[in-house]
């Protein structure tokens, strides 16, 4: 059978998954079949509903259903579209929070780096850097999120002034500015805190632990409508 020749020209044709039903097959034969592209997997006969279900799950790459049946896939597409491949710095002095935040962002394809303090964040964000965004915990010992953000903006302003100090030959100024989106991570979202966030130079906030909807809304402002120019 020339099944392997189907669908080689262009991605519009999707090869159906092939499941081989066998009564008596060795491991070696199974591996051969899989390697030849003849079968995606093998089920032993007699068929059992549970086995068919498990195999279908495996070959169709279906993950676990959400436990409370929430509409996760659509949101995932949205967040994955925004975060996939983005380099993100997560700053939190608590190791559990760091791991959970990183896990959530990585799920959507982000490339995550963690920092455990404001000071460490400053080191990572020395210019030039390749980060696309920073999630910053507010309440941290020694240097809180507000202070860290203030210092980051100071750093950026300094470099921006140096870069754009002079006019171009045609009289225009080159508009290339460092400004990393910084989102506060906070469990207590009070307006007073939000005001302070914005005053320090933060771009927004997101509640923690992350909820997909609010995460999406917060991130969508930077990765869709506003292109980041880092050069």
């Amino acid at each position: 059978m020339q099944i392997s020749n189907w669908g080689q020209n262009g991605h519009s044709y999707k090869m159906p998954k092939m499941i081989l039903l066998a009564t008596n097959i060795t491991v070696a034969e199974t591996e051969k079949a899989k390697a030849a592209g003849f079968a995606d997997t093998v089920i032993m006969k007699p068929l059992r509903a549970s086995m068919v279900a498990a195999c279908l799950q495996q070959v169709l790459g279906l993950g676990r259903k959400p436990q409370n049946g929430r509409d996760v896939p659509n949101k995932c597409t949205g967040l994955r579209g925004l975060l996939c491949g983005k380099k993100i710095l997560v700053v939190d002095d608590n190791i559990v929070n760091r791991r959970v935040a990183a896990g959530a962002l990585k799920k959507f394809g982000a490339d995550v780096q963690c920092a455990e303090s404001g000071q460490e964040a400053l080191k990572w964000l020395q210019l030039p850097h390749e980060f696309d965004a920073c999630f910053m915990d507010i309440q941290m010992p020694e240097m809180d999120g507000f202070e860290a953000t203030r210092l980051i903006r100071e750093m950026e302003n300094k470099v921006n002034t140096q870069m754009n100090g002079g006019c171009m030959a045609d009289g225009t100024t080159k508009k290339n500015e460092w400004h990393i989106p910084i989102l506060a991570m906070t469990a207590d979202v009070i307006h007073a805190t939000l005001d302070k966030c914005l005053k320090c130079g933060m771009d927004g906030y997101v509640s923690k632990p992350f909820q997909e909807k609010s995460l999406y809304q917060a991130v969508a402002k930077f990765f869709e409508s506003k292109p980041i120019s880092n050069s």
Binding site: V27, V42, M44, M51, C55, R64, I95, A104, K208
Partner: protein, 172 residues
């Protein structure tokens, strides 16, 4: 391996945990973050939570044992515990932490001591339950992996050994 029983008790146990308020929706979020590229995520995060919490509870005990109680320091520790318990969905621990912080604000040493006892209790309760849950998940996953990867081998072996192939109900 009595997978049916394992799986049934897993579902019932999870429901019980949620119903009694030990774990909230955040814990299910963690489960959703676990996949083939991150197969031990829940275990890792829960282990970190245990380590972190035990350290904090220890620090709190010492801090409250001082002649001059430093409420700011205590509040900082409780804030940490509130954050981490919130991140893994340990709802009851988090709620006690909220009350604890209020007592710190009031500089109520006796109240704080009582709260410390309470938070220790809640922590131990959720720890026991999480450990049991993780053991059951591990067993279920072992079976799942066997199912999808090596079932034909196993079946041959079982039949060759004169055994009966167990009925396995896969569900999410």
């Amino acid at each position: 391996m009595e997978v049916d029983q394992l799986q049934r008790s897993f579902v019932e146990y999870s429901r019980l945990l949620f119903h009694e308020g030990f774990l909230d929706g955040q814990f299910s979020q963690l489960q959703l973050l676990q996949d083939e590229s991150n197969p031990d995520f829940v275990l890792e995060v829960v282990s970190l939570f245990f380590e972190d919490s035990e350290r904090l509870l220890n620090d709190l005990t010492i801090a409250l044992d001082q002649q001059n109680v430093e409420f700011k320091k205590i509040d900082a520790h409780v804030h940490q515990l509130k954050g981490s318990s919130s991140s893994i969905g340990a709802q009851r621990v988090k709620n006690v932490c909220i009350a604890f912080r209020n007592l710190c604000d009031e500089q109520n040493a006796e109240g704080c001591l009582r709260c410390l006892q309470q938070v220790k209790q809640e922590y131990l309760l959720v720890k026991t339950k999480l450990e049991a849950l993780l053991r059951e998940r591990h067993d279920k996953r072992v079976v799942h992996d066997l199912n999808c990867g090596f079932i034909f081998q196993l079946e041959q072996q079982i039949v060759a050994a004169g055994g009966a192939i167990p009925m396995l109900n896969e569900f999410c």
